[in-house]
């Protein structure tokens, strides 16, 4: 499988990365090189093989449903580029 320039631009939009036409051209070539190289996985017989979900078998840890942390609003917003009264500020999203 290979990608064309429009697909690159579509995928970049899905990934929320702006790419120029020239960048999309370059990325098309690079992505196709990588996708061509991973094609070799099609040689492997994977019939009846379970896809890996956990590399080291272990039961999912669960903690008691207790409040153990909190009251850190100032910490949470301390690195944000724009905040007001412990809220993150973003461009207007609702008309």
């Amino acid at each position: 499988m290979s990608v064309d320039k429009d697909t690159v631009k579509h995928v970049a939009h899905l990934a929320r990365i702006k790419v120029s036409d020239a960048e999309a051209d370059a990325l098309r070539g690079e992505l196709n090189t990588i996708l061509g190289w991973v094609e070799q996985l099609n040689e492997v017989d994977v019939d009846g093989v379970e896809p890996m979900t956990s590399v080291i078998p272990m039961a999912m840890k669960k903690r008691a449903d207790d409040v153990t942390d909190g009251g850190k609003a100032a910490d949470i917003v301390s690195n944000a580029p724009a905040t007001e009264d412990h809220y993150f500020l973003v461009p207007k999203v609702v008309e």
């Binding site: 995928v11 996708l35 492997v44 994977v46 093989v49 080291i56 910490d75 301390s78 461009p91």
Partner: protein, 492 residues
């Protein structure tokens, strides 16, 4: 007292206990060495001199009052991927500009709780994506090793290139690092240092900037096998904050260093003999086999038939997880923001300006292989191949093999700008021997074992059973005993 920077962690422990020098003198010696070398090597992105001196003074007080902890006064460098409270933690990326966490990662907290001193934050490939430390927003790191008679700058490997370069150039006694496809072991191999990637789940991932969560694992880079064992014991823990942290007590790895390997079964996998591999790497491997025979181990030829598929499967699984993990960098909660016409435009411009080329490439590959219609063909198939890779190892270990001996890298260090310019896959092939351990969750250690014709260090790798790092330290010491230590001639 600049020779203080030449001491191993084991020797520092002894010297501080005997009051041969103070923790502050030791830290000052390192800060001086960093000042002199860093403009040329670019290993540190931030030096925390005041903090380091404060921590060293506190260590001296502890030592004076007989309350020294296991890493008391040991000056360490911390990879920029680890969150450190109030200190630059930007993963080598522009998009995390100005990010100073309000907390420490579990691993760095473990180190401070054991008395270690932080010298600063170490350069790395952006978001740990790279094998040469050339993708960092802060510029490439230079390897302290040069070809004999040459003066061209070589890469230190990546992504933990700053960690490896700093340890090799005596700019810290040891360093934290992380390994998603080989990012501890490959730079260790390129710089003549020891690097271990422990079993997945051994070190907590809490507070480490995530790249590929099912593959990421932290470990130390150090100058000796013993130092790596000392550091890993402090870094590793059982952590309720990481749901994949294993509920297994951390052993005293240092006990294993120096134990005999007599009767141990060392597997040698035929699939690691690659076309086009330099003769010097092949000879190094043979030399390693002879060392183990001489030490009384049994050498067993083994097969890991799916080895060649590990790297292509990794370049599906890794980018897929990265595309998801890196979605959080959106210009809202931390780091860089580039204004846009609306919120989507703001996201797209922020991420276009904030991510470097390699990161964009991987995020796009990951987004593509996870997108509708391609998920089964790429991602599910790669995860099935991963099951087969792990099964290969399980069968070998079930047959009684204690550790697997392979080369660590397909070549010694190469020049800055030499690889991957036209074809990204050329760079990816650096991890061909290391990535299998990430795909299967197994521990792997790289130990320097010799030098090539140009005098550059080369390393062997040992891969072990899950949570059997102790065997890797025990077996790794055999290589160190036979090969000795490798220190770059100082030119900086």
């Amino acid at each position: 007292m600049s020779d203080l920077t030449g001491l191993t962690i084991a020797a520092i422990r002894e010297g501080l206990a005997k009051r041969d020098f103070s923790a502050l003198e030791l830290t000052d010696a390192y800060l001086e060495a960093i000042d002199a070398a860093n403009p040329l090597l670019n290993a540190y992105v931030v030096v925390t001199a005041d903090k380091a001196r404060d921590m060293a003074r506190a260590s001296d007080q502890r030592i004076a009052s007989g309350e020294a902890r296991v890493l008391e006064g040991v000056p360490l460098g911390i990879k920029d991927l680890f969150c450190t409270k109030g200190v630059h933690s930007q993963a080598g990326s522009h998009i995390l500009d100005g990010f100073e966490p309000t907390y420490d990662s579990t691993i760095t907290q473990n180190l401070w709780d054991d008395g270690a001193v932080m010298l600063g934050k170490l350069n790395m490939d952006e978001f740990a994506m790279g094998s040469s430390n050339e993708t960092s927003y802060y510029g490439p790191v230079v390897n302290p090793w040069r070809k004999r008679g040459g003066n061209a700058d070589l890469v230190p490997g990546g992504s933990s290139g700053g960690s490896a370069s700093a340890v090799a150039a005596m700019l810290c006694a040891g360093a934290t690092a992380t390994d998603t496809g080989g990012s501890i072991r490959q730079p260790a191999a390129f710089t003549g240092t020891v690097g271990i990637k422990p079993t997945y789940g051994r070190c907590s991932r809490w507070g480490i900037v995530a790249f590929a969560s099912s593959l990421d694992q932290a470990g130390p880079i150090a100058r000796t096998v013993r130092d790596a064992a000392i550091l890993l014991r402090s870094m590793a823990s059982v952590d309720p904050k990481d749901t994949t942290s294993a509920d297994i007590e951390v052993p005293d790895y240092e006990m294993a260093v120096g134990e005999s390997v007599r009767g141990m079964k060392i597997g040698v996998p035929k699939e690691y003999r690659m076309d086009g591999m330099p003769d010097e790497i092949e000879m190094l491997w043979q030399q390693g086999i002879e060392w183990y025979r001489a030490a009384g181990a049994e050498i067993v030829d083994i097969s890991l038939p799916h080895t060649k598929y590990a790297l292509p499967a990794y370049y599906i699984v890794g980018p897929a997880e990265a595309s998801s993990n890196l979605a959080r960098y959106d210009g809202v909660r931390y780091g860089l923001r580039v204004a846009g016409d609306d919120i989507i435009d703001m996201y797209e411009k922020t991420r276009a300006a904030g991510f470097g080329k390699e990161v964009k490439r991987r995020v796009l590959i990951g987004t593509y292989v996870l997108s509708a219609g391609y998920y089964d063909a790429y991602y599910v198939r790669a995860q099935k191949v991963r099951t087969l890779i792990k099964r290969d190892f399980e069968e070998v270990f079930d047959s009684g093999i204690d550790a697997i001996l392979t080369p660590a890298t397909p070549s010694a260090a190469f020049g800055i700008g030499e690889k991957g310019g036209a074809d990204p896959v050329e760079m990816y092939l650096n991890d061909i021997f290391t990535v299998t351990a990430n795909m299967s969750g197994l521990p792997g250690i790289a130990v320097p074992a010799g030098q090539d014709a140009d005098g550059l260090p080369m390393a062997l790798q040992l891969i072990g059973r899950p949570f059997d790092e102790a065997t890797l330290f025990r077996a790794g010491q055999v290589i160190e005993d036979a090969a000795g230590f490798f220190t770059p001639p100082r030119w900086w």
